[in-house]
């Protein structure tokens, strides 16, 4: 691709996208994305609206399958296994690759049940109380909710809800957590808490985060991919990957002029 850094081969890739094209119906949404997501690192996707960063993120756990008319071409491998090969069950993929959404979306059920649901449906055999506590602890929200596990997840504040959603995602012990602008609906203090949490979580999980906030990308991520959109003849927009490198390189010494303009706030 445009800038494969040399050290990329040194760390193991958790996910590898090769020449990925995504279509919605007959419209091309993202073209020719090739990148490796390193294991136990935080990778940030940045770029202007409509550049396809969320679309690519959704390809990684096959949530695009749920959108009618969406089609993925190219190859996305997870431990060398093609996620879109015949016989690969999307339910199993999503069980291994969790997701946290832009708007906190706890189930309108108890805090306990929010965590227990994923474990139960995936056939968890162990002590559920322990799993719930441990997941909430890992998401740094246990102290705030330990006395009200029976209360609705919706009774929490936005930031707490988002951490509950993270707790819910890690309760089923995925290998990768995809985060689609997880802090865009949160205030700065809640955002900070989620960012600190991500730093703790990367010890055990690989994290991919889509963000509009460049400070956030530079604060939390190890690698950054910059996407941009270009106009097509038909008046639509197609997203593509401009540059992918270590976060420090992207923000201090990018190779592409587009990237430099974007991270310095000159457009987008």
């Amino acid at each position: 691709m445009i800038s494969d850094s040399m050290n990329q081969t040194l760390t193991e890739a958790a996910l590898r996208a090769q020449n990925v094209f995504v279509y919605y119906g007959s419209t091309l949404a993202v073209r020719d994305v090739t990148l490796d997501i390193p294991k136990n690192k935080i990778t940030a996707f940045i770029g202007p609206s409509g550049c396809g960063k969320s679309t690519i993120l959704r390809c990684f756990n096959r949530t695009n399958d749920l959108i009618s008319g969406a089609r993925v071409e190219g190859k996305i491998t997870f431990h060398g296994r093609d996620l879109y090969a015949k016989g690969v069950d999307p339910v199993e993929v999503r069980r291994r690759i969790g997701m946290v959404f832009q708007k906190p979306n706890p189930f309108p059920k108890s805090i306990y049940e929010n965590i227990a649901f994923g474990a139960r449906i995936n056939g968890y055999q162990g002590n559920m109380d322990e799993l719930v506590e441990q997941s909430l602890r890992s998401a740094a929200i246990w102290d705030e909710v330990k006395d009200k596990l029976k209360e609705s997840g919706l009774s929490l504040s936005g930031g707490q809800q988002q951490r509950l959603c993270i707790a819910r995602a890690i309760a089923i012990e995925p290998e990768i957590i995809l985060m689609d602008e997880p802090c865009s609906a949160l205030d700065p203090i809640s955002t900070l808490k989620v960012e600190e949490l991500m730093q703790q979580l990367k010890e055990r999980y690989t994290i991919v985060i889509v963000t509009h906030n460049m400070q956030q990308a530079s604060r939390v991520s190890d690698k950054t991919a910059f996407f941009n959109a270009e106009a097509t003849d038909k008046g639509g927009k197609v997203g593509y990957l401009v540059e992918y490198d270590d976060t420090s390189t992207i923000f201090s010494n990018p190779k592409q002029e587009y990237t430099r303009d974007y991270v310095s706030g000159r457009f987008g």
Binding site: N61, T63, L66, S68, V91, E92, R94, R95, G98, M99, F101, K103, N105, P106, F107, P108, F117, G118, I121, N122, C165, R168, A169, I172
Partner: protein, 310 residues
């Protein structure tokens, strides 16, 4: 800004509207508000008034007839001895069956159409047709029921039976239940489904655990509407040949489902069409009983709905 009066919000602007004109127009706008509110109020008063007149009229005519023997006697040629027990029991039987049939079938169809098949021309064709079916006159369903349930399925239904009547009414109200189910499923935010899928839930697990419980209040509202429609239907049941004179009660068994029956609207219709004035008050009494049954039924559904909303 120096010229502006601190008491008003007046300031220089490019609009060139002076304060007096603005205030005059504002008064006019408030007048329109009041006119519209009054018209809306009139619409409410009018419909409530008509309903109240009907109810009061029926109550004056019929309340004297509603007593224990009216509820427990069979119909008779002599107005003084006539009662509606067979029609009341028939209505209860039919409504229970209609509820048992339409709830699983209607909700199942709604869930399938909304959650399981993708939005293609086939789904849209079905959707349009179901909406059309909801508008088909009930007598047409009566004719269909007569052929299919009374004649073709005779070995199962034994002809003009409770079962045939319930199946016919179920067909009649299924579109209402299906449409209400789809509407309320559609109202469940997609983020809930995504949350479920992202945890590795299958479609059924997402629907069963998260989507359907949230949609249940709306579904039950649809069921209430459907049953309220079914309980008052006369034409299709007359078409399939429900009798008006039933001097016995169906057995409480599967065999009982195959016995002839009548329902309250048919009994009321029968009494109204008699020449003797005494039967009119019986009809009014029958209407009161029908209304109480309807209210009880709706109260049950509303109770269930409130439980689900918790």
């Amino acid at each position: 800004m120096t010229t502006s009066n601190p008491q008003s919000f007046e300031r220089e602007s490019s609009w060139n509207i002076d304060q007096a004109t603005f205030l005059k127009a504002l008064r006019q706008r408030y007048t329109f508000d009041k006119v519209f509110a009054t018209l809306a109020l009139l619409a409410v008063v009018f419909s409530l008034f008509v309903l109240a007149v009907l109810l009061i009229d029926v109550f004056i005519d019929g309340i004297g007839r509603v007593n224990w023997s009216f509820l427990t006697s069979f119909p008779s040629r002599r107005p003084a001895e006539a009662g509606l027990v067979s029609a009341l029991v028939g209505t209860v039987w039919v409504m229970v069956l209609v509820a048992l049939i339409t709830f699983p079938v209607g909700v199942g169809a709604g869930v399938f159409l909304e959650e399981f098949i993708s939005d293609n021309w086939f789904a849209r064709a079905i959707e349009i047709n179901i909406s059309n079916l909801a508008a088909v006159p009930s007598i047409i369903y009566g004719l269909l029921g007569l052929q299919v349930f009374v004649r073709v399925m005779f070995p199962i239904t034994q002809g003009r039976s409770i079962l045939s009547g319930a199946l016919t009414l179920s067909l009649l109200v299924l579109p209402i239940v299906i449409i209400a189910t789809r509407e309320s499923l559609r109202a469940v935010p997609g983020s809930i489904r995504q949350a479920g899928f992202a945890l590795g839930a299958t479609r059924w697990q997402v629907v069963r655990e998260h989507v359907l419980p949230l949609a249940m209040p709306g579904v039950l509202t649809g069921v209430i509407l459907a049953l309220s429609r079914a309980i008052g239907e006369t034409a299709p049941l007359i078409t399939i040949g429900a009798l008006t004179y039933i001097p016995f009660l169906p057995e409480l068994s599967l065999k009982g489902l195959q016995s002839p029956f009548t329902v309250l609207p048919i009994q009321i219709f029968n009494w109204v069409s008699r020449p003797q004035a005494d039967f009119y008050s019986l009809a009014a009494g029958g209407i009161i009983v029908l209304m109480v049954v309807l209210l009880l039924m709706n109260a049950t559904a509303i109770y269930l709905r409130n439980r689900f909303q918790k």
